[in-house]
Each structure stands twice: as C-alpha cells, then as structure tokens.
C-alpha cells in the first residue's frame, strides 16, 4: 500500500501550485459543439503547468443551490491550453456539462470570477523514446490538446467522440488529428482504439499518452500491454480537495491504493491491473 506517492517517479512531472485558492477572472467562454472552453486569467499562477496536471475550480459566486443543492466542493479540470500574455498565463478549460458543478461553470460570463487552485497532480512525462501517440476520448481530449501543444507536429493525435457534435474541439488542435466517431458522423466510423491499433501496427516503438472514459483507457491499457508499448494514462476519480488532504480519490494500482490527485492523474499503464474498478471515472 502506498499513501504518499511511493510510485511517483524520481523526477516528478509536477509544476508546484501557489498555496491556497486564488481568484481568476473569466476572460471568455467559447462554444465548441457539445463542449465549452472556459478561458481564465491566472496572473498569480505559474506559466508552465504540465500537460495532464489539473486545477480545482469553483465559481466565486453562487457555488451551490443547483440540482440537489449542489455544487459545494470545487471541481477538477485539466487545462487544455495555456496562452501566455503580458498580464500572465491565460488558462483554457474544456467543459462537459454533466451535472450541477460543470453546469454552473459553463454559465459563467466574462468578467465573473473563479476560485482556482493548481496546477495539481502529476502530468505527462516527455516520451522516453520513439514517437508520441496521443489518444483522447470525448472530453479526455482536454489534456491531450495541452500535450499536443507542447510536443508539436512530431506527435500523432488520435481522437474519438460520440458524434460530430462532440468532435468540434478537434479544430483546436494545430496539427490535424485523426478522428473516429461512434456513429460515423465525423472521421472514421470506429473506436479511437481501432485507430491506435493501426498506428501501433506501423510503429510498435511509439509511446502512448491517453485520456478518456474508463472503458477506452482499459482498451488502451490492454492493447499496449499485449504490444509491450509504454503508455501513460490520465485517469479521473471523484475528488474533494485535489492536493492529497482527504484520501478520497484513491484508485487501485499494483502497489495499492494511490491518491489520484497526488500520484496521478497520469499513471503508468504498467502500474494498473484494470481501469474498470468500482467508482472508476468518479
């Protein structure tokens, strides 16, 4: 059992967060098909959060009183892009409105404030060797976009979505990604793991970086395991604090439960037996 990040690599892919929550002004909210991109100005935050790290966000006003008298706790979001401006970094967050917290955040208007803590957790580590294969499913495209921005055109990006409505965010990628949709309304009528399958056939030496729903991540893990391909997976789990305080976000690994907010959200696929554990995804 590990409760202090025993499995965290010596050189952690972590940019430290300022201590405490801080206000961040909403600069813009963009519709991207079924998703939205929320832009926040974070002058007090570091300019270089690692792709795959995340921030805890809450609306500064009226954070509560939604469905089920929620939200109460802040919510975790990976930054999908960082734009450096004279006034400091501007952070992009890709939002999928699935409940009271994400709904409140998508309702924010420019000029309104967020409470923000981060960047938190461990991000993706630069590929040790070979080509980088970036795989994103649905809203999991968020940290993949941040990583693609960092790696540039040398990396190959594979994205899967339910339908063309959700695929809108693919237009944010600088180098055209390969697309798959469940209903064939955009790109290939396939699963993104089918695309990955083909890519690995051509280039077995690649390193895989993936984020998406548990079933997709499990398929990626299994595929990479059989191919002996190194993979870094960005997971999700329900979080209260985001900085290791509550022990609520644990996921089972070969070395026991680890706090995903502290020793993840990016984990080595080799550390995981399965992504389909109870509570996976929340």
């Amino acid at each position: 059992m590990s409760t202090d990040g025993a499995i965290a690599p010596p050189a952690e892919a972590r940019t430290l967060a300022p201590f405490g929550r801080r206000r961040a002004r909403v600069a813009a909210v963009e519709e991207q098909g079924a998703y939205r991109v929320l832009w926040a100005c974070d002058p007090q935050g570091p300019p270089d959060p690692r792709p795959g790290q995340f921030y805890m966000l809450a609306a500064a006003a009226s954070w509560g009183g939604g469905e089920g008298e929620r939200p109460y706790l802040p919510r975790a979001f990976s930054h999908c892009r960082v734009v450096s401006e004279a006034s400091g970094p501007r952070l992009g967050f890709m939002l999928d409105a699935v409940g009271p917290g994400t709904e409140r955040l998508t309702d924010l208007r420019p000029g309104e404030d967020l409470w923000l803590v981060g960047p938190l957790g461990l991000g993706f580590r630069a590929p040790a060797r070979g080509r980088a294969l970036l795989v994103g499913g649905g809203i999991g495209a968020a940290p993949i976009l941040a990583l693609a921005d960092e790696l540039g055109p040398t990396a190959t990006v594979l994205l899967g979505f339910r339908s063309v409505a959700h695929a809108g965010v693919s237009s944010l990628f600088i180098a055209e990604p390969r697309l798959a949709t469940d209903d064939g309304s955009a790109g290939r009528h396939a699963l993104v793991t089918d695309l990955l399958h083909d890519e690995l056939d051509h280039d077995p030496a690649a390193t895989v970086f993936a984020c998406g729903p548990p079933p997709m991540l499990e398929a990626v893990r299994a595929l990479c395991a059989t191919r002996g391909v190194e993979a870094q997976l960005a997971l999700e789990s329900g979080m209260a604090c985001g900085y290791g305080a509550c022990f609520g976000c644990v996921v089972p690994t070969r070395s026991g439960f680890v706090r995903l907010c502290l020793d993840g959200p990016v984990l080595d696929a080799a550390e995981l037996e399965t992504l389909l554990f109870a509570g996976a995804g929340h």
Binding site: T3, A245, G248, F257, G279
Partner: protein, 309 residues
C-alpha cells in the same frame, strides 16, 4: 518560537497546558501536511494554516482504507467513507513523525484502538515521543469487544480513558461521536476518567445511494457527513458539552469563516478546528484565523488612546 508563519491570532491560548500561538487547528484527517508540501512546496511552511497540527488517525496495524468511491457530495456538505488508511503505528513513527516534527506548530497525534489493548500500545508508544504535544483519542468507533461505540456510551468512554490515563503524562484529548443520545454525559464520563480535553464533533453517520442503481454509493457502505450542513449541530453539541464539563473543548463542524469560529468560542470552545473547508481552500485555516483575530480585535474594548472602529 517563530509565529509569523502561522495564522494571525488575538493572542496565544493554553490548551491542556500546551501553549498555542492561536486557537486554529486542523480537524484530524482533513489536512495531510506531508502531501501538501508535495503539491505546494515549502510555501506551506511559510504560511502554515494552523496553530497546532493534528495528524490523521493512526491505528496499531497498517490500513489500506475503504474501496472507492469514498466521497459523495451532499447539500452544503461531504459524505466520506475513507476508512482510516494509515501506515500503522510503526510506519507512522518511522515515516510520518519525523516529517510532522518539522512543522512550525505543536503536534497532536490522533490514535484509534479497536480494543483496550491496542489503545494502550498506541498511547504508551506515542505518549513517550517528545515530538508529540497532545494525544487525541478518536472514539468514533465500536469497541470490538463490546460492540458499543466508545464515543457514544458514557461507560465505554470512561473505561477506555481509564485504561490509558496512567500510561503517559501527555495530555489526552477525547474526540466524541456526535451520534450519541447524550454527548454531555459521554464527555463528563471521559472527564471523570481523566481526559484533559474534549474534541467535537466528528462526522454524522449518513448514507448515499447511487442514483442509477439505488445501491450504496460509497465503497465502505455508510459514511460520515461533514461541512456546513453539520455546523448548527456542532454548535449545539459544543454548547451542550460546555455547559456540563469544565475541560477545554476543541470545537469543529462546518467552520468556514472567522464568524463560525467565533460562534464556537462563544459557545464554550477553547480552540476551533477547520476540516472540510480546507478542501475548498488549502489555506482556509489561515484565512479563518485572520478573520477571527480581526473580529475579536473589533469586539475587545479599545485600549486607552486607541480608536475603536
């Protein structure tokens, strides 16, 4: 001792013979100072949010904790079923204690024993360590021998305290269970048995169901409710216990502002702990201490010559 790296306060307080620079503590299990240093670096030590630090509850044997999911968001609150994951006494002494001893505030170690024997070994060993200023006995668990909850039954609480009182000179704080018919009676029994202070409230027993399956959401089955939802219950229990026992009380439950802390002090608490609010704001304790000191300053009669706004 340096205090400019601790929350502002209206002055030091005495907690069972231990001087604290102020009245703000963390609630056990709601702030992992070692993890916080990994996330925020040593900034945590430069603006440490508490006047004393309380460890997560330590058990004799290591525990992995409950299977996920461990969290459920409740209206203005949080339901948790963490299951006391910890390295066990050995691991705590070897791995955690040295790191916690580096913190800029006195250390309170929370322990839980599932029977009298375990409790004796925990208190005896922890009480012998000079780094430990106070020991908190987490009684929110059933005694495996009697099946009765130590913190909910006066007789159980008395027996548990009496069994360890002689083992150490370190002050013993007893953390009650809020799910008791008569918390003041439990507190009084603990006091008579030799407790030096009372800590309340722990989380309220509660449950959540998966909206899709209507089966228990939490991996551990039931859970404990904390946060603003329990604030008024905590204030009531602190007032009730303060009316019955003279021991110093550490009050907690939904504290999210200096005003909430002031309420608990007015209700009879000597000190106040911040729990779930630290999840919303890692440095909540610092802000709350600041707000409290400010409000106390405003209330206290102006010093001669000083103006009073």
């Amino acid at each position: 001792m340096r205090t400019d790296n601790l929350p502002p306060s209206a002055g030091p307080i005495d907690l069972c013979g231990v001087e604290l620079a102020g009245p703000i503590l963390n609630a056990s299990g709601t702030f992992d100072a070692i993890a916080a240093r990994r996330a925020f670096g040593d900034a945590v030590l430069e603006r440490f949010p508490f006047h004393a630090f309380v460890s997560k509850t330590v058990t004799l044997e290591p525990r992995a904790g409950n299977p996920p999911p461990r969290l459920w968001e409740a209206p203005a609150g949080l339901l948790n079923s963490i299951g006391l994951p910890n390295r066990g006494l050995e691991g705590f002494l070897r791995h955690d204690l040295p790191r916690l001893a580096e913190l800029p505030a006195p250390l309170v170690v929370s322990v839980m024993g599932f029977d009298g024997n375990e409790l004796e070994r925990l208190v005896g060993t922890v009480g012998a360590r000079p780094e430990v200023a106070l020991i908190e006995l987490n009684f929110s668990c059933p005694n495996v021998e009697t099946g009765l909850e130590m913190g909910a039954e006066p007789a159980e609480a008395a027996r548990a305290v009496a069994g360890v009182r002689a083992l150490t000179d370190t002050p013993l704080l007893v953390k009650l269970s809020p799910s008791a018919s008569d918390p003041p009676a439990v507190a009084a029994a603990a006091a008579d048995a030799g407790a030096d202070g009372i800590v309340l409230i722990n989380t309220l027993r509660a449950t959540a169901l998966d909206p899709r399956t209507r089966r228990p959401w939490l991996g551990g089955g039931g859970g404990g409710l904390s946060g603003p939802a329990v604030r008024a219950v905590a204030l009531g229990q602190v007032a009730g216990v303060a009316a019955r026992v003279a021991l110093p009380l550490i009050g907690m439950g939904g504290v999210a502002s200096g005003a909430h802390a002031a309420d608990l002090l007015a209700a009879g608490a000597r000190a106040v702990a911040v729990g779930t609010e630290s999840f919303r704001d890692p440095s909540a304790g610092y802000r709350i201490g600041d707000e409290l000191a400010e409000s106390l300053r405003r209330r206290s009669p102006p010093r001669p010559g000083a103006s009073s706004e």
